[in-house]
């Protein structure tokens, strides 16, 4: 009897912490701050309620259930975490950057989760980055959206793998004229896409042939059974010589990936600086009907209407050439007003830092501020470093704005985001506090 009792008690003791953990510990309420949800109008004195890493509710009159952990944000600003869509954070140091890649290169293979300095980026409120293989000519490979959650394996860092396939048009390799690269890249890319079309056709034909073969085989088998051992000439004739298992064409991983691009399952991100390259990218998108993302787009302001008409999203390049260590020849006509003009003309515009170093990503808000200084609308600029990149890269269902159901990637700041004096106080990723500002001594 006593034994049974003690077992029961033990069971209760064992269960209790489990229950407690599942019931209470996962709720957080950030209260009293000005909320900039990005997707909708600002809410003053609002509350963000988080449960199990997801945003449960956002608003001025959200009822906070008991037991929720509270973060006091009175007098502060609450925003979605920032995203840099042109980052090279987490890239392995010393990886060669001037190579040509291939479509089945995957940026997640080139990541170093042990890299130092990512905390400094997080401390500026950046919760996600998009990284792509750094090759500068032709097709570079597949990019991914990463989270700054401190994970030690690439798999856990990745929010979305294969977010886009990156390619280049007319990017110079060594600050020399890029006119040859321009011709070469365009021809190569087009040729590869045509090859992919042929590959996909072969693959489809094989699938058809295989189905037909299976069908015919089934039929002949049936006939065999029906007619038993009767072997008449007609039946033999019915079994033609070509009733052979069709040969499976060799799988080519590169074409497999590009096939997905042609099927519009993965967007093709094309880095293009000069006007001509931008137009070439648009032409390719028209010809092959893939979904295009324009990257950098330095001279985009010259053809903004054209881009807007085709509804092609842009990740506008470095707002200032200072982000690049040595200015490239492509920046000759660089204009800091680019992002503002594109956005004003109705192009879906995200802003990227476009820096040479992973640490550059920490200046994403400064970059957006500089875009505002150069004519961009303030709201559009804030959106350009939060929701717009998330939309462009297909992660807007998870991050980018403060909306119920999205992941709780949230930044609390002491003031409006573009004020120099505003400091990031708290950063949450998936509802976990990953950064808290130390009180200055």
């Amino acid at each position: 009897m006593t034994e049974v009792k003690s077992v029961c008690l033990g069971g209760i003791f064992l269960l209790f912490p489990l229950l407690a953990a599942s019931a209470g510990a996962e709720r957080i309420a950030i209260r009293g701050g000005t909320i900039l949800p990005v997707s909708s109008n600002p809410i003053s004195n609002g509350t963000v309620l988080i449960e199990n890493g997801k945003i449960l509710a956002v608003g001025a009159d959200v009822v906070v259930p008991g037991g929720a952990r509270e973060i006091d944000a009175r007098g502060k600003f609450i925003l979605p975490g920032f995203m840099d869509a042109q980052s090279c954070l987490y890239m392995v140091d010393g990886e060669p950057r001037l190579l040509q890649g291939e479509p089945d290169w995957n940026v997640t293979d080139g990541l170093d989760p042990f890299i130092e300095g990512w905390e400094e980026v997080l401390a500026q409120g950046v919760t996600a980055v998009y990284v792509a293989p750094p090759a500068k000519s032709g097709i570079a490979g597949r990019g991914a959206v990463l989270r700054l959650n401190g994970a030690r394996t690439p798999a856990k860092l990745v929010l979305k793998a294969d977010a886009a396939v990156k390619a280049n048009l007319g990017v110079s390799l060594n600050n020399q004229s890029s006119s040859l690269a321009r011709l070469n890249d365009y021809a190569d890319l087009r040729e590869t896409l045509i090859e992919t079309q042929a590959y996909m056709q072969r693959k489809r034909r094989y699938e058809q042939d295989l189905a037909e073969y299976e069908k015919k085989k089934g039929e002949t088998g049936k006939e065999d059974k029906k007619e038993g051992k009767k072997e008449d000439i007609a039946a033999k004739e019915k079994k033609p010589q070509d009733l052979k298992r069709p040969d499976k064409p060799a799988t080519d991983p590169a074409h497999e990936i590009l096939g997905k691009v042609l099927d519009r399952k993965i967007p093709l991100e094309i880095t293009a600086h000069r006007m001509q390259d931008i137009l070439n990218a648009l032409r390719l998108a028209e010809e092959f009907q893939f979904s295009l993302i324009l990257d950098e787009c330095t001279e985009g302001y010259l053809v903004a209407e054209e881009i807007a008409r085709r509804k092609v999203p842009v990740i506008a390049g470095p707002v200032s050439t200072s982000f690049a260590e040595v200015p490239q020849v492509e920046y000759r006509n660089h204009d800091p007003r680019n992002a503002g003009i594109l956005s004003a003309k109705g192009v879906q515009t995200a802003i990227g830092v476009g820096g040479r170093d992973g640490l550059s990503s920490k200046f994403i808000v400064t970059a957006a501020g500089l875009a505002v200084a150069n004519g961009m609308d303030k709201d559009a600029a804030l959106r350009a470093v939060t929701l717009t990149p998330a939309e462009i890269l297909g992660v807007a269902d998870r991050i980018g704005s403060l909306d119920a159901g999205k992941d709780a990637d949230i930044v609390v700041m002491t003031g409006p985001p573009f004020d120099t004096a505003s400091q990031v106080v708290t950063v949450l990723i998936e509802g976990k506090v990953v950064y808290e500002r130390k009180p200055s001594p």
Binding site: P96, E102, D112, F114, P133, T153, T251, P253
Partner: protein
């Protein structure tokens, strides 16, 4: 060969060491040995000790798997340890040959779990050469083997270098013998995979190559199996040979071979783990010093590890403006990872396994654990722990006689016993003498004067 025969002679005769031998004598001995080598068939030469039964009476025995024994006796029969214990507890048979080693410390010979030294070219230029074997590249006269024996190593896994994607299979040898056949302990052990991209390509390209190879292999195998099945179905003879160049990779996937995966930076460790899990491999990680950052990951997966010869690395703490010393074995030990230590010849100390273990102990590692990391653990990792790595009943007598504590810098290896046969003696080590003593005046010099 020459060496061993003379040893065998010596043990047989049990004469005191000849202190000085003039040139003629040496040559005569050499000639005799060469003759013997010709006469005695190789199998016999490798066939075992002259004495079947040997009893070693030692001042101290470190069996690794058990407690240390003071004044102990090891009984060996036909190269196999038959008994080990206190002097009083072991009865020495009347016909056993007794080796007195009262002033010596006996322990199992060291085992080196991973080396590419002693290969003429450790890295093949082509990235995918899993069909190669180090067996074909081992160069017995290489001073590396001679030194290894002198330093107390009785077995080592020779693997291709660290810079070939699929480098080939390894060979376990004992660093003693005239030919690689003489030296052989076990063939076809381990397949080397390197995650360090060769200079011209990036990590992304490297992994792409690996995946493409694996996908091609899978496709080839599927098609081959299909053809085989079709043939069987059609009752046709099927004599198509499976591509021998792919066989070792198939064995790897089937768990018949262990993968030795080299990680050049910490970032390669998660990738290695991904590969191991995707293809369900038996694997040992060969780590660069930088990989200490990934110690918790490795501990979580309970993977065996071979550490780089460089045991201390520096980390720059930018904030404090300090250089922090990171002791790699200490970090792995604390994380609970089992590891083996390696050697290289780059600087003083690092060529000795005992020194590597001493470095680990110096920085706070448990002494027993450190000794295991140069004997038992490497033997386990390379699958020879049934014969090497500890002094136990029914294991081979692969022992070293030390002049003092194994971790003391003033200790020398006095003798090495391989399967009951003495294969090295410091007293007879002419080369060591040459390295440590003042050269004798050259005779021609005297003539000219």
């Amino acid at each position: 060969m020459k060496f061993r025969s003379s040893m065998a002679l010596r043990v047989a005769g049990f004469q005191p060491a000849i202190r000085r031998r003039d040139a003629f004598d040496t040559w005569a001995c050499l000639l005799l040995c060469a003759l013997l080598a010709l006469v005695v068939p190789p199998c016999l030469a490798y066939g075992g000790p002259v004495r079947k039964k040997i009893a070693i009476q030692a001042g101290r025995i470190i069996p690794i798997t058990g407690a240390e024994i003071k004044d102990g006796t090891i009984l060996i029969d036909d190269g196999i340890v038959k008994a080990i214990g206190k002097q009083n507890d072991v009865t020495v048979p009347w016909d056993a040959f007794v080796i007195e080693a009262k002033d010596k410390v006996i322990m199992p010979g060291f085992v080196l779990a991973h080396t590419s030294d002693g290969l003429d070219t450790p890295n093949e230029n082509l990235p995918e050469v899993p069909f190669l074997s180090t067996f074909d590249s081992i160069d017995p006269p290489s001073p590396f083997y001679e030194d290894s024996l002198r330093d107390g190593v009785v077995a080592m896994l020779v693997l291709p270098g660290n810079y070939t994607l699929l480098g080939g299979t390894g060979t376990v040898v004992t660093p003693h013998g005239r030919t690689v056949e003489d030296m052989l302990v076990k063939r076809y052990v381990g397949l080397k995979i390197s995650l360090a991209p060769i200079q011209s390509t990036s990590r992304m390209g490297h992994m792409q190559r690996f995946r493409r190879y694996m996908d091609d292999l899978k496709e080839y195998r599927e098609k081959y199996d299909q053809r085989k099945k079709d043939a069987e179905k059609d009752k046709k003879p099927f004599d198509e040979e499976f591509d021998p160049r792919k066989q070792s990779m198939v064995d790897l996937l089937d768990g018949k071979l262990k993968a030795f995966i080299y990680c050049a930076v910490a970032a390669d460790v998660p990738k290695a783990i991904e590969i191991i899990e995707t293809y369900k491999l038996q694997a040992v990680l060969v780590l660069s010093p930088d990989c200490y950052k990934a110690a918790p990951l490795i501990a979580e997966k309970k993977l065996p590890v071979i550490l780089d010869p460089q045991l201390v690395v520096w980390h720059t703490n930018e904030e404090k403006n300090e250089e922090e010393m990171k002791v790699v074995p200490q970090i792995f030990n604390r994380a609970g990872v089992k590891f083996a230590l390696q050697t290289d010849t780059s600087s003083y100390g690092r060529r000795y396994l005992w020194y590597q273990a001493a470095t680990a102990v110096k920085h706070g590692m448990n002494r027993d654990e450190a000794l295991k990391s140069i004997t038992l653990y490497p033997a386990q990792f390379i699958g020879i722990d049934d014969r090497f790595g500890s002094i136990e009943k029914d294991k081979e007598a692969n022992l070293i006689f030390l002049t003092g504590d194994p971790l003391d810098a003033q200790t020398w290896v006095d003798k090495v016993m391989r399967a009951g046969e003495i294969v090295y003696e410091k007293d007879k080590d002419e080369r060591l003498k040459k390295l440590l003593e003042k050269p004798r005046e050259k005779p021609e010099h005297e003539n000219t004067d």
